[in-house]
């Protein structure tokens, strides 16, 4: 019984931690998006929340990218460009490809 309780508490803690991290990411992106050039790309192939991290990590490595946030349900990637810098769309498309996804058109 004690083991079951410990397992339940551990799983609950992990769940709360994971959800909290996700909300924090979203807040940061929304805030940074207000102060910078924001682009939206179509991305096909993402099929779960776990897919977000792969493409976001690769896009964030591109110089000039301030923040990147993917949404598998909307099939979109929102990229905030650092003010005063230029970003080539081809670099974003290449990052999407290396994440095993396919880029559609740039929506915004």
């Amino acid at each position: 019984m004690t083991r079951c309780t410990a397992l339940f508490l551990t799983l609950s803690a992990l769940l709360v931690c994971g959800t909290g991290c996700a909300v924090t990411d979203q807040d940061v992106t929304s805030e940074s998006a207000q102060n910078s050039d924001t682009r939206v790309y179509e991305v096909f192939g993402m099929d779960c929340p776990g897919c977000h991290g792969g493409v976001e990590k690769l896009v964030k490595k591109i110089p000039g990218v301030q923040q990147a946030e993917a949404n598998w349900q909307k099939k979109q990637l929102v990229v905030a460009v650092r003010p005063g810098t230029e970003l080539n769309d081809e670099e974003v498309y290449d990052a999407i490809r290396r994440a095993n996804f396919t880029a559609g058109k740039r929506i915004k």
């Binding site: 992990l14 990411d25 099929d47 779960c48 991290g53 490809r97 095993n100």
Partner: protein, 284 residues
């Protein structure tokens, strides 16, 4: 001949899956792990399996706990490398006496190469080939004692909330050697289907709960020694396994109940009984 027939059947099933709108996402198979380039996936599980219904009067029973840890790394967009190490604990009882053993299973290394992937607004379909190598590094109680090769094929289909996966793998056990007693362990054919439906929780697309249904077939040939089958070795089993997967951003909790709905033991082995898998995955 039987193996060839089974492989042909497997190839047909792959084509059938590829041309249908069926869907899934596997918990019992590691071949589905596909990190993006320069991304890691860590998977750890607890697997329990019980064997009983002794056909002899010795009343043998066995409880097996396995703790696999898998590390997968995306070397390139089309190539994944993964390593699996399993710690096992076996509790065996026979005619009133009981023994417990803990040790390491053989180290398993798997390479996965993307043959084809098509991402469209409506669906995603992929085919990958896998090649695994099991190195006899385990402790005596759990090591096969031989170098084992495992070629395989993995297909996946995603459409909206649906996900379907199919994996076929053939373990060519003792392809280069025999164990210390001159026994060539029997080869193993594995067919695994998985079907899942993702339910979103909340509106930030970061949390999903997916009921999962898996169907797994295992055919293990008899061991061979001196050109003859070794008695009481070899078996076939079919599992029907309901489960669930909770995804929170890059973290996944998974659970599966394995129900052996059919089995054929070639000798006086114990029957397979219910088993379960509890695990987690973390991507970074």
């Amino acid at each position: 001949m039987r193996t060839l027939l089974l492989l042909s059947l497997a190839a047909l099933v792959v084509l059938a899956v590829a041309s249908s709108n069926a869907i899934a996402a596997g918990i019992s198979v590691d071949a589905g792990l596909t990190p993006a380039e320069d991304r890691w996936i860590l998977r750890s599980q607890v697997r329990y399996m019980r064997r009983n219904n002794d056909p002899t009067p010795m009343d043998r029973r066995m409880n097996m706990y396995a703790f696999p840890a898998v590390v997968a790394y995306g070397l390139r967009p089309d190539f994944t490398l993964m390593v699996r190490q399993v710690v096992k604990h076996m509790d065996m009882s026979m005619a009133g006496s009981r023994s417990r053993t803990t040790g390491l299973d053989d180290l398993f290394i798997l390479g996965k190469y993307k043959l084809y992937r098509r991402n469209t607004p409506q669906y995603t379909f992929g085919i990958a080939t896998t090649l695994g190598l099991e190195i006899p590094t385990g402790t005596n109680s759990f090591s096969s004692g031989t170098w084992d090769a495992q070629p395989g094929l993995y297909t996946s289909w995603r459409s909206g909330p649906w996900a379907a996966d199919f994996n076929v793998a053939y373990s060519w056990n003792g392809f280069a050697d025999r164990d210390e007693s001159g026994v060539n362990p029997g080869d193993e054919l594995s067919l695994d289907w998985a079907l899942a439906y993702q339910l979103s929780i909340g509106d930030n697309a970061r949390v999903t709960l997916a009921p999962v249904l898996e169907l797994s077939y295992r055919n293990i040939s008899s061991d061979r020694q001196g050109g003859l089958d070794v008695a009481n070795t070899g078996e076939s089993v079919l599992y029907l396994s309901p489960g669930a997967k909770l995804t929170v951003s890059s973290f996944i909790l998974e659970a599966l109940l394995q129900i052996p709905v059919w089995q054929d033991q070639q000798g006086l082995q114990l029957d397979r009984n219910l088993g379960f898998i509890l695990g987690s995955r973390y991507m970074f």
